[in-house]
Symmetry: C2
Subunit: 224 residues, 2 copies
């Protein structure tokens, strides 16, 4: 029953492996997470990640070959972006598995950040209780239009793309709880990482707005 090395089945697995191999490099994952926030030029990516332009370009081409990112030309620049939501779902799944299973993860995160709060998300019940008591800032990091279409009551909206510039809008007095679209969305993860690096105490809501809605909890809406 065992086929030769070039059995069709093996060839298919080989393709899967090629995709995975692309993600087997910290720099490339960082690039994808960056591009998940919006399209960027090679130089912009290089600057943000600290890699040289040539190296960045090569990584971007590797990602493009695997179909994970797409490129378009705009004048002198070539703008890269992630190819689709499935790619975001993929690295989210990667994140979930890594966080669940790699015990080292916890040690690294806890070593650098606050001892008490790791990457564990906050439950909806906890959020409601503490928000009512005024103990936390609820932060919606989705784009403004999605926020307008419906958000958790009392939540502040700062899209992830503007977070860095608007850190001054936030207070360090209360813990910040960030949320985005759902368990397969990276925005909240990114926001928490950025906020902690900036000295804030931050965690993310378990799930996202769709799950909040499903749980039958209240939603605010901006009238147009």
């Amino acid at each position: 029953m065992t086929m030769s090395t070039t059995s069709p089945k093996r060839a298919v697995f080989e393709e899967f492996a090629k995709t995975a191999k692309c993600l087997g490099h910290a720099g490339r994952i960082e690039i994808i997470e960056l591009l998940a926030q919006g399209e960027r030029s090679v130089e912009a990516v290089a600057e943000r990640t600290g890699m040289t332009v040539a190296t960045t370009s090569q990584h971007l081409q590797t990602l493009k070959r695997a179909g994970l990112v797409s490129a378009r030309r705009d004048g002198k620049f070539i703008l890269y972006s992630v190819s689709g939501d499935e790619v975001i779902a993929l690295i989210s799944a990667l994140r979930v598995v890594t966080e669940q299973h790699a015990a080292e993860m916890d040690r690294i995160v806890r070593g650098y950040f606050d001892k008490r709060d790791g990457m564990e998300p906050v439950s909806r019940e906890d959020l409601l209780e503490r928000a009512r008591a005024g103990l936390v800032t609820v932060l919606d990091v989705r784009p403004a239009d999605e926020y307008a279409a419906g958000h958790i009551p009392g939540a502040t909206n700062i899209p992830l793309s503007e977070l860095e510039q608007r850190l001054g809008d936030l207070t360090k007095d209360r813990e910040i709880i960030a949320y985005c679209r759902g368990p397969y969305c990276v925005y909240a993860f990114e926001a928490v990482a950025a906020l902690r690096q900036a000295g804030f105490s931050a965690r993310r809501l378990k799930g996202g707005l769709p799950q909040w809605r499903t749980a039958g909890l209240e939603i605010s809406r901006d009238l147009t």
Copy 2:
């Protein structure tokens, strides 16, 4: 703003990359898909994949180190199994991205199998119509207990683990449409691949039983 090479952010990405690197090898992906069907000994995996026992053992240890598979001792044997459903979701996400984006994929699959039908799933509507006309065999490849708890009317149940031995139960006269738990379940993919290799005409249902249920379609149940 650019931190040194050992910034906490980079360290986190490094962990993600470690997990992904594990999947960057066709043999290891094949192992995971095998173990997704049930726990197996090193030798059993080696035999099925055609790798030597030593090589298989090393791959299994790599997977274990990354938390993707777990091991337990049973007498002389060490039985490996996937660590959890998140792992299955991860490789399913990998599969989705690869199938969507890697153009090569199609060429490989179409080259080996029937020209007309690739990997595109069959819609619920198509399935219903053609099943009523007696044009297709609907195949439920989930474990027997899940089948008993609810299945598509008229579906035949052959759990994936028994499929190879029970190929004789199926007819080559009609196309076979396989389904399992849902878009994040690998069973149907596996079944279609196996059936095609055995000379059957086979495709998979888009989604799975939960989606069927959600769409408000009829479900049969075995009485206990």
